[in-house]
Amino acid sequence: MKKMCLVCSSGGHLKQLYLIDKVWKNYDRIWVSFDKEDANSLLKDESKISCYFPTNRNVINLIRNFYLAFKVLKNNKPDVVVSSGAAIAIPFFYLSKLFKIKTVYIEIIDRVDKPTLTGKIVYPVTDLFVVQNESLKKVYPKAVNLGSVF
């Protein structure tokens, strides 16, 4: 079975990634998310690694998460990394590019025609960039629009 690494903040980013369970249940998987109650309880039956937070415009945790991402990718060797953001995706996606691991980014639903900062940063290195709104294809021309994940 192929292996998937799922990377996300807790809260809405996690909720949206969890909603594609029909996809990730077909893979061996490891999750990377925050050590917060909602993430710990939702992922209680999953393999989960906690990353550093807050990640919102936080450079120190970005650096820490680069070291964490390096270890996770080296130790687990996933076939694909899937993320709904937010900033935790950045180290995982750039290191995946280096290690030739495939990457899938799902832009969060509540963007109409303005991208997230994370989306803009990872877009150049993402193999499959998914948006949930057709207007976002003006910002991300190579994206695939699948409509709402809900």
Binding site: K2, S10, G11, G12, K15, Q16, L19, I20, D21, K22, V23, N26, K36, E37, D38, N40, S41, L42, F53, P54, N56, R57, D79, V80, V82, K102, V104, I106, I108, I109, D110, R111, V112, K114, D127, L128, V130, V144, L146, G147, S148, V149, F150
Partner: protein, 167 residues
């Protein structure tokens, strides 16, 4: 029971919590109220309040409530609408340091007709919107999840197995 949730975003949302407390204090809200206050530092005086909840506890309050009042996190209100709940949305606003920008409001305005959303920009309008929502029927929610997952599955399989993406 009214369930109030401000999500897990790492900024306070005291504006909503203070208004809820005031409405309970002045008997405009007489229902039981349960609050998830996240990273807010305002202490609720008139309702049970908890900072963060596990997913089972959150789901339980969501299922049992007669009305959800939530911040503008799309995952929160879309999940609630999908479960046929009555929802009043109060988007976080940057000018009050509630979020990094006003994307919650921008998105709500964009999809308001599509999902028949009821939302509040001026917090003083909260009670009138609560009354309006309590007196109207819920709207059917059309889920796109099966289509999303089916297409995504094919696309991911393709790139994992070395193929190219064809939409």
């Amino acid at each position: 029971m009214i369930f109030v949730t401000v999500g897990t975003h790492e900024q306070a949302f005291n504006r909503l919590l203070k208004k809820i407390d005031e409405l309970i204090q002045t008997n405009q809200i007489s229902d039981d109220v349960v609050v998830q206050h996240g990273y807010s530092d305002y202490k609720m005086q008139n309702a049970f309040s908890k900072s963060l909840m596990g997913s089972d506890e959150f789901k339980n309050y969501l299922e049992c409530c007669d009305l959800l009042i939530c911040h503008g996190g799309a995952s929160t209100y879309l999940e609630a609408l999908k479960n046929n709940k009555k929802v009043v949305i109060v988007p976080r606003l940057a000018k009050f340091d509630e979020h990094v920008n006003d994307h919650q409001l921008w998105y709500i305005k964009e999809v308001s007709d599509q999902y028949k959303l009821n939302y509040v920009e001026d917090i003083d309008d909260l009670m009138s919107v609560i009354n309006k929502v309590l007196n109207q029927e819920t709207v059917q929610f059309n889920s796109n999840n099966d289509y999303f997952c089916a297409k995504l599955s094919v696309l991911i399989d393709a790139i994992v197995n070395g193929g190219k993406i064809n939409e």
